[in-house]
Amino acid sequence: MNDYQQRLVILAALYVTLAVSLNLINGITGQFSIGHAAFYQIGAYSAGYISHRWITELGHSPPRILWLFGMLLAGAAFAAVAGLIVGLPSLRLKGDYLAIVTLGFGEIIRIAVQNTDALGGAYALQQIPKIYPIWLFWILAITCIAVTRNLIKTARGLTFLAVREDEIASQAMGVNVTKVKVTAFVLGSAFAGAAGALLAHYEGDITPGMFAMDTSFIILTMVVLGGTGSITGSIFAALFLFYLPEYLRGMKTADGSALAVSGATVVASLLMVLIAVVCLKKILDSHWGDPRRRGAAYAAVVVASLVLVRVLVPIVGLFKPLSVMQVPTDQLRMVIFAVSLIVIMLLRPQGIFAHHEFSWTWLKRVFHRGDGPRTEIAS
């Protein structure tokens, strides 16, 4: 594996951890946090600072892997404390107010780090020892998935789902809503902090810009796209949304330079998406025909829009500045995130997997058409 491939595998594990841990807060407990990068940042900076400051003084005496493991726990602990601090106001706030507070918390953390010279200020916290065994990144991701998945299978975890479905009703049934919400925040942020600690030891230098608002929005997109509440969905969406821009970046033209598309193609594609979404939404809302005919209609719209984009590109290209302009494909990253966020919300607000989880019985049911338990959790 070369460095670049290694980087992809490592960052994918981090994004899976982040998406699943945010899903624990947003999807499973039904809170609405959009500042997850703050916890990621706290983990990265606390672990990074301890390593940067003390590992040389200790003269490499601890085995490096043990040190990294300790830092992972330290990052998780610091982020968990931060999660506790954010979790407490969440008792009073709900929905969009909580969202904006978490967003604000993220920005406060970022600005605080930017103004702390000991943490490298606005430049970077440098010279963090680089320790990155790839397996540890994936162990973290798998632990995060396992903890979340096993949590909702237990009686304690069902209270999380109960809080999501109806706070007042679950309170009446004896669920300690306060405790559940705070636990979700602490657990979710601890995993994000652990991911941050690993990131710090992988990158070596970390800057506040790596944890800005758009990082939070990327993680949120992963959760929403996969289906809020579905762990499987988060994992797939994290992998998909992480690899898609990398794939676009990796695309080369015949002479080896980075691939660029014309501005006309971008505009035509956006128009195509708009038209396709309007048509699909109309079919979706009309309750027309039986499922098979509706499926055929969806397929027809998709095919028609693919044809349409071919027609649209030359038409839009008549506007000269657009056909001359070249857009490198890797700049399309955030545009794709934004468009997928809007399209998913308009067509399937519950996300691709909705509340469904992957399970072997489900696979069996698909192949043998036999009876099996439904995969939907507590709907």
Binding site: F32, G95, I111, A338, I342
Partner: protein
């Protein structure tokens, strides 16, 4: 208490405090204009319109392009401007922003009307990200002064003296000034009499006159500085005054539209109770469109004034921080409450300049969020909002 923290007060210059407060009001006027859009949309739809900051950003771009077309572009040849130019820019910005707001509502928010509020909020975030990053592909970056300063015919500063220096200082200046003038004249006469004399290598009598002149001038300067340090004055740029006055006019207009017209009454009815208003024969879709027209055009006006008179760099992230701060201002005043948004915006502007004044300018962006969290924890309804707790 104050004595316990002398180091906190040591760096504070109370003489510039009035000026800082005025600056805060000028900044706050723009926040108030943006906050009005947030608060009206929230009042009607119960949706945090995250894309509002991007409407503001696009408004700045519209102002930029209009100024290019008026001949103030990079290759522009226009040298003088007039009020008509400013007015044209303002009106075009408001109209285009209103249009953008309506389009966003029609294509992104209307389909989400019956979905959960979380879904609508995520759509709003999506629209906001889309406009930011898609704009990045197609729109230029305009470094400060983003719009040519020549567009503004009213450049310059007015000095208003609030507390004049004690008379004794002025008397002293009055006494010293004639002496200094005399010394200046003597030296000038000497120099005209001895043309070609080297200023830095004068004969003794010339050097004596030069020293006398320098001492006298220095004395006057010291006396003036001493007088200035005892007086309090405010420097106001005319551009800032235009911002404040235009904002006040627009807010009065908005108050008229909302309070004294039939459509405004319908808007208040919709924000009070969506379904009942519909049952009473109000066309809810029209009213929501109207709300977006009002809110977005105010944001457009704010963007035009910010870009023209403050010269902030125009990038596609132009609207992110002002948007978030204006939202905080709306929450501070009580979201859904129109006077509250204005009050919140002004307070937010003043709070920000106060932090800068206290020497923590790098923290001024964080203030908004600290205020937000404080307000939500202590008085979730905002300053002028109701205390009504949201029922499920």
């Amino acid at each position: 208490m104050i004595d316990a923290f002398p180091h906190l007060l040591a760096g504070l210059d109370f003489r510039i405090l009035p000026e800082q407060i005025m600056n805060g009001l000028f900044v706050g006027a723009i926040y108030a204009l943006i906050a009005l859009g947030y608060t009206m949309v929230y009042g009607v739809l119960r949706l945090i319109n995250f894309a509002h900051g991007e409407v503001y950003m696009l408004g700045a771009y519209v102002a930029l392009f209009v100024s290019y077309n008026l001949g103030f572009g990079p290759n522009g040849h226009a040298t003088t401007s007039s009020v008509a130019n400013l007015f044209l820019m303002l009106v075009i910005c408001m109209v285009v922003c209103a249009l953008i707001g309506v389009i966003i509502e029609r294509f992104a928010y209307r389909p989400m009307r019956n979905a959960s509020r979380t879904s609508a909020l995520i759509t709003a975030i999506g629209v906001s990200l889309f406009l930011q990053y898609c704009g990045m592909l197609f729109l230029p970056i305009s470094p400060p002064p983003s719009i040519d300063e020549k567009v503004n015919p009213f450049r310059g500063t007015k000095v208003v003296t609030l507390i004049p220096a004690p008379a004794a200082f002025n008397e002293k200046i009055g006494q010293m000034q004639p002496l200094a003038d005399k010394a200046d004249k003597a030296y000038a006469d000497y120099m005209t009499a001895h043309t070609g004399a080297d200023e830095f290598n004068l004969p003794p009598e010339g050097q004596a006159l030069k020293d006398a002149k320098q001492t006298a001038d220095g004395g006057v300067l010291d006396a003036q500085n001493a007088a200035n340090s005892k007086s309090v004055s405010v420097n106001i740029r005319y551009g800032d005054l235009i911002i404040l006055c235009t904002s006040i006019v627009l807010m009065l207009l908005l108050t008229y539209l909302v309070m004294f017209t039939k459509r405004g009454r319908a808007m208040r009815a919709v924000s009070h109770d969506f379904d009942s208003a519909a049952l009473m024969g109000i066309n809810v879709n029209h009213i929501i469109t109207f709300t977006f027209v009002l809110g977005s055009s105010l944001a457009g006006a704010g963007a035009m004034m910010q870009a023209t008179f403050k010269g902030t760099a125009i990038t596609t992230l132009f609207g992110v921080l002002p948007g978030v701060k204006a939202f905080v201002a709306a929450v501070l005043g009580g979201i859904g409450n129109i006077p509250g948004a204005v009050l919140g915006g002004l307070l937010m502007g003043v709070a920000e300049t106060m932090v800068t004044w206290a020497g923590y300018s790098r923290w001024s962006d964080a203030v908004a969020f600290v205020i937000l969290i404080g307000v939500l924890l202590l008085r979730p309804g905002g300053l002028l909002g109701s205390d009504k707790v949201e029922k499920v």
